[in-house]
């Protein structure tokens, strides 16, 4: 069966490239699953989403992806993220700390959009690391 060539890139570096059977990402319209021979798609990803790359025997690759795009054409899948972090690279303690701080400032000020964004990002990082949020 054909494989997908997947690249996860952020402006500052290439985060991961490799082959996969399936890619699941969250666009602003909802979750989208890409399998080989998918029609060309260009989607906008949500802030603080979790990207899942299924690789058969090698297990899943999970990453926290903050904003950006997914582009699919001809079995090439590119995830362009403003910032992204592999689940295995997430510092769980720091992410938990960041989530708590963000939630505290949301409680103090409901209109704090910045804190909401921080909370979303921290939650995505924790989910990518396999933690329950």
């Amino acid at each position: 069966m054909a494989k997908l060539r997947v690249g996860v890139v952020s402006p500052e570096r290439e985060i991961w490239t490799g082959e996969a059977d399936m890619v699941i990402a969250k666009t602003v319209d909802g979750e989208i699953g890409i399998m080989p021979n998918h029609a060309p798609v260009l989607g906008v990803l949500v802030e603080g989403g979790v990207l899942r790359v299924k690789r058969g025997n090698e297990g899943d690759l999970v990453a926290a992806v903050h904003g950006g795009f997914i582009s699919v054409a001809d079995n090439d899948v590119s995830i362009l993220a403003e910032a992204a972090e592999l689940g295995s690279e997430v510092d769980v303690a720091r992410a938990k700390d960041a989530l708590q701080r963000a939630q505290a400032s949301i409680e103090a000020d409901q209109e704090d959009a910045d804190a909401r964004l921080q909370a979303k990002r921290a939650a995505a990082r924790l989910r990518a690391a396999g933690e329950e949020v």
Partner: protein, 299 residues
Amino acid sequence: MGAQLRQLRRRIKSVKSTAKITRAQELIASSRIVKAQQRMQAAVPYEREITHAVSAVLSNTTNVDHPLTVAKEQPATAGVLIVTSDRGFAGGYNANILREAEALKGHLTGRGLAVRPYVVGRKGLTWHRFRSREMFGEWDGFSDNPSYANAKEIADALITAFKAEDGIDEIHVVYTGFVSMLTQNVIVKRILPLEVEEAETPPEGIPPYYEFEPTAGDVLDSLLPRYIESRIYNALLQSAASEHAARRRAMKSATDNANELIRVFTQQMNQARQAEITQEISEIVGGANALADAAAGKE
């Protein structure tokens, strides 16, 4: 005689300490070029992908009149982003940038546009302040090691100004392109209204027909600002690499000059010392001869 010797010794000492400083600067710059080049390399995949995505959207939508791609019929003001360095010691690096920026300003004024400078880097800021020119955006502190957040901040300011009613109608950027260790060229480019730069190899045949999530317009809305950020980030990275390369070259020639000066001074010092010794000997010999003559005359 002794005075000249002392003076030369003092000058050699001072030139030597200058050479030490310039040599250290040269070494620091050399090591930083490598890092800057790696950062440029690391940014390439994202640039390639985002350019690809933008061309995909533009080729799939027949009537693109996104505010960022449409040129106004009567442009009245132009913003110019000038990327300079924070520190000097880089030869003609900043002078070249500012000269090109002035040329661009003359060209734009000739077209009847009012020019608004947006300046990056302390050297450019002081240059504008000294001439008491108004700046519409000022950033400094990251010229030798820019992060994507810096590029985003600049892009946000420019895009906001571009979209505003009484804002700017065109945006140009003046930066130093890094070609190689030895060659860096000042590049002047218009970034808004947008002209998408095609990837190096144009795709063969008809581009695939894309589906968009949610819609082509929405994708374009969030894609174009990212594309501009990425262009600006690229300009900052290239400028940083060029800055280090220019500094390395300037410091290398300064070190070479200092070593040459030391050589010349050492030679002069040796000559002076030799002359002093010769004179002392001839004085002693002259004195001894005179004494011997006097003694011979007495007998």
